[in-house]
């Protein structure tokens, strides 16, 4: 069934994007957009691969990937929050930094073999027709993301902690009068976002592609940032969005393996066009849902 194959591919390929999008949701809920998400994914992918190659344990790799992603995001947080630089421009520069550093220090790991995450079909569930292969025949990081999205939703919208984060994005001044530091909250949110993006990169290198190569994220971090916007900063909607893009990426090989030929460049552009289309359809409605302080970044990019 091509339908099952594409959706299963959507879940597999969408997971890295999902982690990054959940991380970015956290950061943007606190009022900071980070276009350097792509860079955090790259550093995460390399660190995870390198540590997995060194230790033989992919979980140690994921830990390292998370730390590396968080570290790069900390550069963004410092430049933006403590030095007052433009968020969007800094994000891009941070991406440049991540891409440069990973190709500088990653060369040694191209072609190194690792023992990656293995797929673990969940007994029983994986045998359900359709849903089984689509949802329950993956690696542990995919399953972890099933838990992460609702957990983040609960944290953001049902816990006191989430209220603090969202206040940092909506009304930092009010938050300050209650004795919280919006600056600290934003730092933690941005770094936490980079941490999740790093795990997304780790999924790419140690569970999905099982290889490291410079620039292997190929724009998936940008898609994650765009996705957060049309998912209206909502963790559960981000899940659907991430799988939609995963599916857009999985469509081309699924068609070709069955002997259907289409213009490959049109298919290659499809995920980006789908993203833009989603932003158009949902954009007008969704920007109303933007954290208020963040929407100022969107409405008007300060030129300083």
């Amino acid at each position: 069934m091509i339908f099952v194959d594409v959706l299963a591919g959507g879940v597999r390929g969408g997971t890295a994007i999902l982690y990054a999008a959940l991380g970015e949701t956290l950061a943007e809920r606190a009022g900071v957009i980070n276009l350097g998400t792509e860079g955090s994914m790259l550093t995460g992918a390399l660190a995870a691969y390198a540590v997995t190659a060194g230790t033989g344990d992919p979980w140690a790799g994921v830990l390292a990937g998370a730390c590396a992603g968080a570290l790069l995001a900390a550069v963004h947080a410092f430049t933006v929050l403590s030095r007052g630089a433009n968020q969007l421009a800094t994000g891009l520069v941070v991406l440049f930094l991540g891409a440069g550093l990973t190709s500088m220090f990653g060369a040694a790991y191209v072609g190194r073999a690792i023992s990656p995450f293995q797929p673990y079909p969940i007994p029983g569930l994986s045998r359900i027709p359709w849903a089984g292969p689509i949802l329950f025949d993956h690696d542990p990081l995919v399953y972890a993301s099933y838990l992460l999205a609702p957990a983040l939703w609960w944290l953001l919208f049902r816990s006191r902690w989430g209220l603090v984060v969202r206040s940092a994005g909506e009304r930092p001044a009010v938050l300050a009068t209650y004795g919280h530091s919006p600056l600290l909250v934003r730092y933690l949110a941005v770094v936490g976002g980079g941490l999740l993006a790093g795990i997304g990169g780790a999924h790419l290198s140690t569970a999905y592609a099982n290889a490291w190569f410079e620039n292997m994220t190929a724009g998936r971090g940008f898609i994650a940032v765009a996705l957060v916007i049309f998912a209206a900063w909502h963790p559960l909607r981000a899940v659907g969005g991430a799988y939609l893009f995963g599916a857009a990426l999985a469509l081309s090989p699924a068609l070709q393996a069955r002997g259907y030929g289409f213009n490959q460049f049109a298919l290659d552009a499809l995920p980006y066009l789908v993203t833009i289309a989603a932003l158009i359809v949902l954009g007008r409605r969704q920007t109303g849902a933007a954290p208020e302080d963040l929407s100022r970044v969107f409405q008007l990019t300060p030129t300083r």
Binding site: L81, G84, L88, G100, S103, H180, A226, D268, T275, L279
Partner: protein, 354 residues
């Protein structure tokens, strides 16, 4: 420090003129970056002093100097393509795609006209087509921003990927050079329709004049015209601009269109001045480096010129990083990113009243 003030302040719009007195800090920042990068090099086991000496020495060669100018012309246009929308508060990250589309349009017109029309006329048509196409590509993002509220930083970024797919789709099939041994590239542009060279046998072409002309035009338009003034007001505070009766939408659109046209022109200069045919990877990140140039220059036109020259020189000196110091090519990205981070982070903090 009070978190509230800091948190709220970094997204508060600032007028462009707040940056006027920033240049000593700017210069200090630019000088600080080589120190940081030198540390990176030292980690990789390279003597920083010898590295910089080799870099500078490699730029002294006249052929090398010509190439720096050729690249600087393209980066200047790509930088202005970011700077003009930025005056109005728009973030154009789509320079790369607009350059590609500009080159595609130039190539399309060139392929049709270069053997039928006098070279000069063909070239003029190519300039017009490249600028129009670049403007149209940027116009998509501006239109989406105004009608569907899609953030232009995101849309221009995504459109870059689409633009490259369009070019690849053309050079792999309809525009593929029949005499090109099956290579994915368009037929080379006739010599008559190319940008003229300053020195026969050299590389420096008339693109630098186009770039300087554009620089003068942008400087004049942003500093001396009502349009430029309005852009700055909109960029400083769109709400105030609206209350003052300005039509914000058309102003934003015009800024983006001008930016796109400048990037399209960069595409033409690269195509008709250096490449002469479309091929995969021909733009080598000019759009992104141009973006950095504009931010390095705080979007001030004359300084964009300086930044373009500096980044072009760094890129050329980058060869020496490899040949003389044995550092990987990606070191260049790290060097540029460090320069930019230091500049972005050294700007006077607006929320801190010291």
């Amino acid at each position: 420090m009070t978190g509230a003030a800091v948190g709220a302040a970094e997204v508060r719009p600032q007028t462009v003129d707040n940056r006027q007195r920033s240049w000593p800090r700017w210069a200090a920042a630019v000088l600080a970056a080589p120190l940081i990068f030198g540390a990176f090099a030292a980690v990789k086991g390279v003597d920083p002093v010898a590295m910089y000496a080799d870099m500078l020495a490699s730029l002294a060669d006249p052929a090398q100097a010509q190439t720096v100018l050729v690249r600087a012309a393209i980066l200047l246009l790509a930088g202005l393509a970011v700077a003009v929308p930025a005056r109005a508060g728009l973030l154009n990250v789509g320079g790369e795609g607009q350059i590609v589309i500009g080159a595609v349009a130039a190539a399309g017109v060139g392929l049709v006209t270069d053997q039928r029309l006098p070279g000069g006329l063909a070239l003029v048509l190519m300039v017009v087509a490249a600028m129009a196409a670049g403007a149209a590509w940027a116009g998509i993002a501006a239109g989406l921003r105004l009608t569907a509220n899609v953030n232009e930083a995101i849309s221009t970024l995504l459109l870059n990927f689409v633009a490259i797919d369009i070019m690849l789709g053309l050079i792999y099939d309809p525009w593929k050079d029949a005499a090109g041994f099956g290579q994915p590239s368009s037929r080379p542009l006739e010599e008559t329709a190319r940008l003229p060279l300053f020195v026969t046998g050299g590389t420096l072409n008339a693109g630098i004049l186009l770039a300087l002309l554009a620089l003068a035009g942008v400087w004049f338009a942003t500093r001396r015209t009502a349009w430029g003034f309005r852009l700055r007001v909109v960029g400083g505070n769109p709400e105030a601009a609206r209350r003052a009766g300005m039509r914000v939408g058309p102003l934003l659109l015009s800024a983006m269109l001008v930016g796109g046209a400048l990037a399209g022109l960069a595409g033409l200069v690269h195509f008709a001045g250096t490449e002469f045919k479309l091929r995969p990877g021909m733009t080598t990140s000019f759009g992104y480096v141009g973006f950095l140039a504009s931010w390095l220059a705080l979007h001030r036109p004359l300084r964009v010129g300086l930044a373009a020259l500096l980044l072009a020189a760094i890129a050329m000196g980058g060869d020496s990083l490899q040949i003389d110091s044995g550092l990987p090519a990606a070191s260049l990205n790290v060097l540029m990113a460090v320069v930019l981070l230091v500049v972005l982070g050294t700007r006077r903090h607006p929320g801190r009243k010291s």
